[in-house]
């Protein structure tokens, strides 16, 4: 039985440290086995992953953009994932930093998530208190307890609470935390493609990710993403290619074009300007096909 199932009066009579210890023990027992396996598998990835908690879509998108642009992989990608406790915990275990939003629409699960991240996240936990949304008395109390636990367990250096009207302070805190952790942001590479080529691109992205450690963002034909991406690989396989060629004008960063079979008309290839055109050598993609471009982006392989 979790301590949270106790009523408020009973909880008030118990020593918060005992409650915290009980919770910690339960979580540790549940997660120990899976954490060891997953931790080993994801050790490399954890250097560049940030857990971004639940809030309104607009706020989350702003912070997401900032972190992505700085080269970090942000999880979870889909808001639906917040309903899945196991997934949330797994993401936190992978993360270098965990960011949570508290206030108003906050559900108990956000407070749960803060506790988990204090326990499982390899780096700091940052809590952003949304100023225009009042906490309920219960939420306020829970947050106070969590912070009390942080102080008592000597983890204050791994915890930040930001109370601000705008996001600037939060973003600055995140930058400081991430830079202070001494991790070099990974190289971001976006892949632009038409829907028809999506299945192929998925395997290409995985192969490049595995070989280089780059963070690969699947832009599709999301022009806003293509604009903001400093490095873009335009993939043209079996798709008609017209929309892809139009999308090229949205990229002023470093770019290259990977042209795969079937052969494309020369007049269409001439529209691929601003970067090298790399031809896929075989029926199946090999990292060697794009090696010159990856080297240009700093890959040492």
């Amino acid at each position: 039985m979790s301590w949270r199932n106790l009523d408020a009066d009973t909880r008030a009579q118990l020593n918060p440290r005992i409650l915290a210890a009980q919770e910690h023990f339960t979580l540790s027992a549940e997660d120990l086995g899976s954490k060891i396996v997953e931790g080993l598998k994801l050790m490399r990835r954890s250097c560049k992953t940030v857990y971004l908690g639940e809030t309104d879509a607009d706020t989350r998108q702003k912070v997401w953009d900032e972190l992505s642009r700085a080269g970090y992989r942000v999880l979870p990608e889909s808001p639906q994932a917040f309903a899945a406790e196991a997934t949330v915990r797994k993401h936190m275990g992978d993360a270098l930093l965990a960011v949570h939003f508290v206030g108003g629409q906050t559900q108990q699960r956000t407070l749960d998530a803060i506790e988990w991240s204090l326990k499982t996240c390899t780096g700091a936990t940052v809590v952003y208190l949304l100023q225009d949304r009042d906490l309920t008395a219960e939420e306020r109390q829970s947050l106070d307890w969590i912070e009390e636990d942080v102080r008592q367990s000597g983890n204050s250096d791994r915890y930040d609470r930001v109370d601000q009207k705008n996001l600037d302070k939060l973003l600055q805190t995140l930058r400081d935390r991430l830079e202070g952790a001494g991790f070099k942001p990974a190289t971001n590479l976006g892949i632009a493609f038409e829907e028809t080529d999506k299945p192929t691109v998925e395997s290409i992205a995985s192969e490049i990710e595995k070989a280089t450690g780059f963070v690969i963002q699947r832009h599709g034909l999301g022009l806003a993403d293509i604009k903001k991406s400093r490095n873009v690989l335009f993939y043209w396989g079996t798709a008609e290619g017209r929309r892809l060629r139009k999308a090229v004008t949205f990229s002023v960063g470093r770019k290259a074009f990977l042209v795969a079979p079937p052969p494309k008309p020369a007049e269409h290839q001439s529209e691929l300007t601003g970067g090298p055109i790399l031809q896929q050598q075989g029926d199946r993609f090999q990292v060697d096909d794009v090696r010159p471009f990856l080297k240009e982006l700093g890959w040492q392989g």
Binding site: L221, L223, R230, K246, T249, F250, R254
Partner: protein, 266 residues
């Protein structure tokens, strides 16, 4: 900053070719496209310097040309300004967009002359006519521009209205106009009714959007700006309704003066 293209436009609007450097209006671009899909004729209005032309020219048009609207498909775009003669400019811009010669005579043969002149369009394509600075139309209502069929301005507006109300050919229209001229549109028969259904008033940029407009153009060309400077600029903009042109001008000058730092590629 030697060798880098200045990503800021200063007092000039962003044009179609600057789409890759146009930031901070993602939501408004989507709003404009969504409204256009519903109404076919849309007036985008705002005070002078609010960025309405940039929003349409460097924001919505490139998206539509790239096929980002399911309803419009891939849009061929005819962009014009009324100055120089609205009918002649319309004929010129249509010829350029469709790659065939369209004359004023063809357009003015009937009130559906525009529709007749542009059909057929290839499957999956649409035609978008963008009349930038629509307020320039008003002088063309004077007597010296009148014929038996009415003034040049009346004939031009009628062509647009007829094209927007039919369903045979996918023709869409966007008018950008200073908001202080919106009342004057009532002098054209049918135009107020059309604009009541499709009108988008360009909102002021939020603090976050402004930050995006400052930082992202630098980001994509591999330069950066000190966060403290960004905050200072944003604070200065907070209470100024006409901050956008001033901010763009300042950024352009700052870039020329080498106030930003280059960054090694990641």
């Amino acid at each position: 900053m030697a060798g880098m293209t200045n990503p800021f436009r200063g007092l000039l609007p962003f044009e179609r070719e600057h789409a890759a450097l146009f930031f901070g209006r993602d939501k408004e671009i989507q709003d404009v496209i969504a409204q256009l899909e519903r109404r076919r004729l849309l007036a985008v209005t705002g005070v002078s310097g609010s960025g309405k032309s940039s929003l349409v020219l460097a924001g919505a048009i490139p998206m539509l040309e790239a096929g980002q609207s399911e309803r419009l498909g891939i849009a061929r775009v005819a962009t014009m300004k009324p100055r120089g003669g609205p009918l002649a400019e319309l004929a010129r811009s249509l010829s350029s967009a469709l790659g065939r010669n369209i004359t004023v005579e063809t357009l003015t043969r009937t009130t559906y002359g525009l529709v007749d002149a542009v059909k057929p369009l290839p499957p999956g394509e649409s035609l978008l006519i963008v009349v930038d600075q629509f307020e320039e139309i008003f002088p063309y209502r004077r007597d010296r521009f009148k014929t038996d069929a009415g003034s040049e301005a009346d004939r031009f507006v009628t062509l647009l209205l007829r094209a927007a109300e039919q369903n045979e050919v996918p023709v869409y229209g966007i008018l950008t106009m200073r908001s202080d001229f919106i009342g004057s549109c009532a002098i054209f028969r049918g135009l107020p009714e059309a604009l009541n259904g499709g009108h988008y008033l360009v909102p002021r940029m939020t603090r976050h959007q402004l930050q995006d407009a400052i930082e992202s153009p630098l980001e994509v060309i591999g330069a950066s700006i000190h966060p403290g400077v960004v905050q200072r600029l944003l604070n200065e903009c907070d209470d100024e309704p006409d901050h956008l042109p001033v901010l763009q001008h300042l950024l352009r000058r700052m870039f020329e003066d080498g106030s930003f730092t280059g960054r090694p590629p990641q």
